[in-house]
Symmetry: C2
Subunit: 423 residues, 2 copies
């Protein structure tokens, strides 16, 4: 029996790495005062049809459920988010700052950095259209990478404002309706041959040279970035951010700020992407709710690859996964003390200490081997000296004899069964 | 736009409650030295066909994917788990102690305690068939409820061993093949009218009286529980556990121990169910891997309902959710200090403190209101006294003037950008 192509099994090591990513995302988003939400894994297909009236993409996991409803496994979060906000926006103080961590499904050709089931953190700030809001969102985006030990030499944000291209076209006498056709050309700039681009631009009566000249405009001569960059400077985020007019994002609904995050080596796909979508909630809610909004998503696959590639980031991941493993392994050195050992095991566990032991009698040496194999921090030896016991730190084999109260103190144990020993 | 029936939206309050359940499950399972794993949300339908050769259930979200594969949104974890274990069992030390927290999908009539998308923690212990293994698993099951503040007056485990019924039938001359037909009668005992049960028993030439007499056997006269109960007594778990011969579990593949967890009031459906399935891995792996195993699952829906019903448990949940909210709200009392305030916000966030502020200039009173509304623990006022600031605990309005180093110490901040400030 095989799993489906493009889907993943998470054995304990891979699951610990995935949890490291999720727990780090969650912690950072909470620190930025974003609140977590979620929606169903399965949604009515109509929800995705509504979004800016676009054609349904072909890569959906779409089917009729046993009740003959046309349904989709969610390919992205934004439609669900706009549904949630439109339904209850009055219940929430603005700006609404929300995030979610969830799996998504797209039937794409499986390849490096792209899978059929993948996870994203989606972060959105709704109800504020100011540069301060854009900066707040960008600050979170940057922090979500720095929290993995990634630095400004590892990643950067490529940022643009679609209005610059709108003005570029207007200045040359084109009507606004042609913007999305034009942005499709810009979007493909990096992948297309120059001759292909030149041919496409021909349809607009524009030359490649004219385009290149505009692309090379120095940042300080581009209008509309002053307020944003003042906000970013106050947060010391400038080293992470670069204006890049080629970034336009593929989707029609973006209205202002757009950005993507890349690793500096540019060996990987985009790590994140997002932007401002001020008209979308109105569209999806059929005009019932009109709120400006901006958001972005980071996927787990490309980020995971980057963490593996950057040595310091990989070391942080390993340290985290190690610390989340076993704290104590209780060794029964005298079988007649097994009852006391079992009670100790239960006590430790109920007081927040991850503890294991051998289910069956076993030589002491074997039990130590088991403790080492499981990555326990301490071996606690219950033997003839009970109620004293030997506490051995396995990393450096430092050993001491301790009483139970001393053990409690050394392991930093909380009282048994409290609401949240880790908070 | 509506969500699908039987599916849930998780607005921030509901999502915080869901996270409380997941984080508590994860912490307790880790404390019991179980390691987390996961598999795909979508699996080939054949995976579910293999399991004990049973008929496919009708309530599957089953369809052909765009590549014409017959696939199912996973309705349960055990088939995925057995696939993972069978593929790589040599890589893992026995006993394998694993858990997962994941969503499942069943097309059932939506009703109280039963939804079409729900979450379960699945815990399994593989490679050990002893009563010590059964006790280890039961200890985890009990701890997974106690960790929510539920006590022995709130819930209990109803426990049985299928071999008792096997012997009951053998003693009366029936062949082993008729066991599952017979267990189906026992399984329905609580829901069927006595006359219906009597009629069904007639097919076995047995009387209702004979059955009732066996059901009433005192626990200490039932064979096979001695070792298990000695193990449970050592862990002080007896008050949580009751032998109940009517518990047999619906599924064919259980071989020995079976149990279900109920609330004492019996107002809700089963909170959890599980048992020993020593032959299943062999069946699913076509004989390639033969390992004894036992496991159980707890769903989030019935548990969530019970937590809401039991006042002390609800209080624990609320305390947890409150503590996970905002720690600090930075108030800009003098606009010329906004740059310093923004730097402080970023500093606090990068050092593990959940912090918010007003994106725009606002009267100080309004900012305090916002801090209260967001549930912040502290308001930090940046004004003329900078670099001193006012720190006000919002719960009791105690206020003091602090320097930045003092603030760092009082909030218990970690250094900026460390791998895991919370570990």
């Amino acid at each position: 029996m095989q799993k489906l192509p493009g889907f993943r099994d998470f054995y304990p090591n891979e699951c610990a790495f995935r949890n490291y990513i999720f727990e780090t995302w969650r912690r950072v988003a909470r620190n930025y005062a974003f609140q977590e939400y979620d929606g169903p894994t399965l949604e009515p297909t109509d929800l995705y049809r509504k979004k800016s009236g676009e054609e349904l993409k072909t890569q959906l996991f779409r089917f009729n459920d046993p009740g003959e409803r046309d349904v989709c496994m969610r390919p992205e979060m934004t439609p669900t988010l706009t549904r949630l906000v439109a339904a209850r926006e009055r219940d929430f103080r603005k700006p609404i700052k929300w995030f979610s961590i969830a799996p998504f499904f797209r039937f794409e050709k499986a390849q490096r950095g792209r899978l059929r089931e993948f996870y994203q953190i989606n972060c959105d700030l709704i109800g504020d259209a100011s540069p301060a809001a854009d900066a707040e969102l960008l600050a979170l985006a940057v922090a979500l990478f720095r929290a993995f030990g990634l630095t400004q030499s590892d990643f950067y944000v490529r940022l643009n404002n679609r209005e610059l291209w709108a003005r570029f076209l207007t200045d040359r006498g084109f009507p606004p309706e042609r913007l999305s056709e034009f942005l499709a050309i810009v979007d493909k700039l990096e992948r297309d041959e120059e001759s292909t681009t030149a041919k496409k631009l021909g349809a607009f009566g524009l030359s490649l040279g004219e385009l290149k000249q505009f692309l090379a405009t120095p940042t300080d001569q581009l209008p509309g970035f002053e307020d944003l960059f003042r906000e970013l400077r106050l947060r010391e985020l400038e080293p992470f951010i670069q204006v890049d007019l080629t970034i336009v994002r593929g989707l029609d609904y973006y209205t202002g700020l757009v950005f993507e995050v890349f690793d500096r080596s540019r060996q990987n796909r985009a790590l994140a992407g997002g932007g401002r979508y001020d008209g979308l909630i109105k569209t999806v809610s059929d005009g019932a709710v009109d709120l400006p909004a901006a958001g972005f998503a980071i996927g787990d696959v490309v980020l995971g690859n980057l963490i593996e590639e950057i040595e310091s980031a990989r070391a942080w991941a390993e340290a985290y996964c190690r610390a989340a493993r076993l704290q104590a392994f209780v060794i029964v050195a005298a079988e007649e003390r097994r009852p006391e050992a079992l009670k100790l095991v239960e006590q430790l566990r109920s007081r927040g200490c991850a503890t294991d032991y051998s289910l069956h009698p076993m030589k002491v040496g074997k039990q130590f081997q088991q403790a080492e194999a499981l990555g326990a921090q301490y071996a606690l030896v219950v033997g003839q000296e009970w109620p004293l016991l030997k506490m051995k730190r396995l990393a450096d084999r430092v050993e001491e004899t301790v009483s139970l109260p001393e053990l409690t103190q050394k392991l930093g144990l909380s009282p048994a069964y409290v609401p949240h020993p880790y908070l």
